[in-house]
């Protein structure tokens, strides 16, 4: 009878639907917002992971010779979890074109390796270019200068477009007054979605990088980047890979070997995004609690209008706990129904949010040029939805507790006399 009465009270007034909708709306918003943020995190993780090697060995001082590199390659490829390898030379430079300047990070890459193993620019936008192969030898761009594959943001800073020439300037610590300059022609631009790369990235042939940074034509390598079959294992296996390096490459007094993984390189960015997501979780949970106050207000009104019923129930033998139980059940029902609707709403709205936002405002939720993404990725974690739904139900039930306790402690005859 208590459950029946609670159900009848819950269904009795249209205003109670407002309480249910408050719970549902708060939960829907929480699911959608977190799906977008979690999607961005996953997307960012993918972009960061796929636009660079997962484990990088850096050889300072004495660079790797070709022979050492071949030995190391063979040793790495003997492991089934290594799927690709990129030799590189990387350095900072100042790009210049006609009075326009831009600080850049120059990546000297071996085209043969990049073509086979590199996965640069998995998230290309706009021009949707294949990263390197066609444009390195674009027959539309005729020039004696070596090619450069430039981030579109760098190109904007230099007021340059494909076909334009740029100059890369470099000064070494040991030759502080001497500036080395090399001329390149921009064959194409990219926008990878990797924020650091998009701000400063330029790719040039490795032999040009050797000349720019080391003034040598010798087949020397500064870095070896590895691609793994499971990038998430990078932190787990990089030390084992390091053992291979130590076994394959001679240790010289002038040589310093360091290693890092993609998560270590990007931890500052990733952690900042995770931190932002956590803050959003807190804000959205507080929003849910606000929804709980709406439930409280409506249930307090419901109880106030039912005081005479409470008096009657106590007269005919209901205990205080039974009376309290009726109204707590109303709160629980509100939470359960509201949560169910909220979850359904969240799952329905999440894949459509970008479309609705664009219909409303005229631009996508995350404009590609601003955020470096081709399309919005959303991720709904089932375990998170379960926690949100349980929390929303709990909040609604707790919101009912005070009005329920108030009802339970009414004196029967005074309650019956309530006007």
């Amino acid at each position: 009878m208590i459950v029946k009465l609670a159900l009848r009270y819950a269904l009795a007034r249209r205003v109670h639907a407002v309480a249910v909708m408050a719970v549902a709306l708060a939960l829907t918003v929480q699911i959608v917002v977190m799906a977008v943020l979690d999607g961005m995190l996953v997307d960012m993780e993918n972009r960061v992971r796929d636009t660079g090697e997962q484990v990088t060995f850096l050889f300072k001082g004495d660079l790797l010779t070709q022979k050492e590199f071949d030995r190391l390659s063979a040793a790495f490829f003997s492991r089934p979890d290594v799927t690709g390898l990129s030799p590189k030379i990387v350095g900072l430079s100042l790009a210049e074109r006609g009075g326009w300047y831009a600080p850049v990070e120059v990546h000297g890459v071996d085209l043969a390796y990049e073509a086979r193993y590199g996965r640069l620019c998995s998230y290309l936008l706009q021009l949707k270019l294949d990263p390197l192969a066609p444009k390195w030898s674009d027959e539309n761009i005729v020039s004696s200068k070596p090619p450069a594959f430039v981030s579109s943001r760098v190109a904007e800073q230099l007021q340059a477009k494909p076909g334009d020439e740029i100059v890369l300037n470099f000064t070494s610590d040991s030759e502080q007054q001497k500036i080395r300059r090399k001329h390149f022609v921009i064959t194409s631009t990219f926008l990878s979605g990797n924020p650091y790369l998009d701000e400063m990235g330029i790719y040039i042939p490795i032999e040009e990088a050797r000349q720019l940074f080391y003034q040598t034509d010798a087949q020397l390598y500064e870095r070896v980047g590895l691609w793994l079959d499971d990038p998430k294992r990078a932190d787990e296996i990089y030390q084992q890979l390091g053992d291979i390096v130590l076994a394959s490459v001679a240790a010289t007094p002038a040589r310093e070997i360091t290693v890092n993984t993609w998560t270590q390189r990007w931890s500052w960015y990733y952690e900042s995004m995770v931190h932002e997501n956590n803050l959003q979780e807190i804000v959205l949970t507080l929003m849910n609690i606000s929804g709980g106050f709406c439930v409280f207000a409506i249930l307090a009104t419901l109880v106030a209008k039912r005081v005479r019923d409470v008096g009657l129930l106590r007269c005919i033998g209901a205990t205080r706990m039974q009376v309290i139980g009726i109204f707590v059940l109303v709160g629980l029902m509100t939470g359960v129904v509201g949560s169910a609707l909220g979850v359904a709403g969240g799952y329905f709205a999440t894949p459509r949010i970008d479309e609705w936002y664009e219909a409303l405002t005229g631009q996508p939720l995350y404009p590609p040029r601003m955020f470096g993404i081709a399309e919005l990725t959303t991720v709904i974690y089932g375990w998170k939805v379960a926690i949100y739904a349980i929390a929303a139900t709990l909040i609604a039930t707790l919101a009912a507790l005070y009005p329920a306790l108030w009802a339970g402690w009414q004196e029967p005859m005074e309650a019956l006399r309530d006007e």
């Binding site: 009848r8 009795a12 005919i316």
Partner: protein, 243 residues
Amino acid sequence: MSSLYPQPAQPKQPEQTPLPAEPVLFAEGIGHVYHDGTRELEILREVNLAVEEGESVAIIGRSGTGKTTLLNILGLLDNPTRGQLIMAGKNTAGLSERERTRMRAEHIGFVFQQYHLIAELNALENIELTAGFAGTKKIDARERARELLDQVGLSERATHRPAKLSGGERQRVAIARALLNRPNLLLCDEPTGNLDPHTSETVMNIFWDVVRQSRTSMILVTHDQQVAKRADRILTLSEGRLQ
């Protein structure tokens, strides 16, 4: 050998009369004082009352004489300041609130002036309401509720909610509700107070029939002399005492 002499006549043994049944309710020296800030207001002084099984007692009195207060005390909704109250063989003085609530559920039925039906339940469900608190089985309660609804002449209105019932019909439902658990005692506070004379007559005819059939004891508080004179006893509450 039998005696030849006439035997003296044996004195006739008096017939064993049965012991009187315990009263359903026994109130002795009931007093109640209201505290209003620093003032004390003695509403009831020395109320003594015994109600036998199946007996109906009407209590009349002017407004403010404490009729409702007395009814609250007899209904275990309030505690007397002094005196003792014995109901169903138990002294109610030492009972916890839970025990008093239980006693109300099992032994007392209430009929109010304002009917006090739950708007969200239909007539049948309103009658069954008391069953859950007395621990009556659902199926038994449903059967008994239908039987009572029939007795009060509202079988065809079983699924109607209070908003669709007239005042008289609502009071009949309330009467049926009060009798569902076969209480020892029915407490009625101005049961016809909200009804017009014609409806009042109709309702009270049904009321007395049903109550007498169930042999439930009744204490009825009323201003209506026509209602009061149907009771087995009429008592007047005046200056805190029942006369």
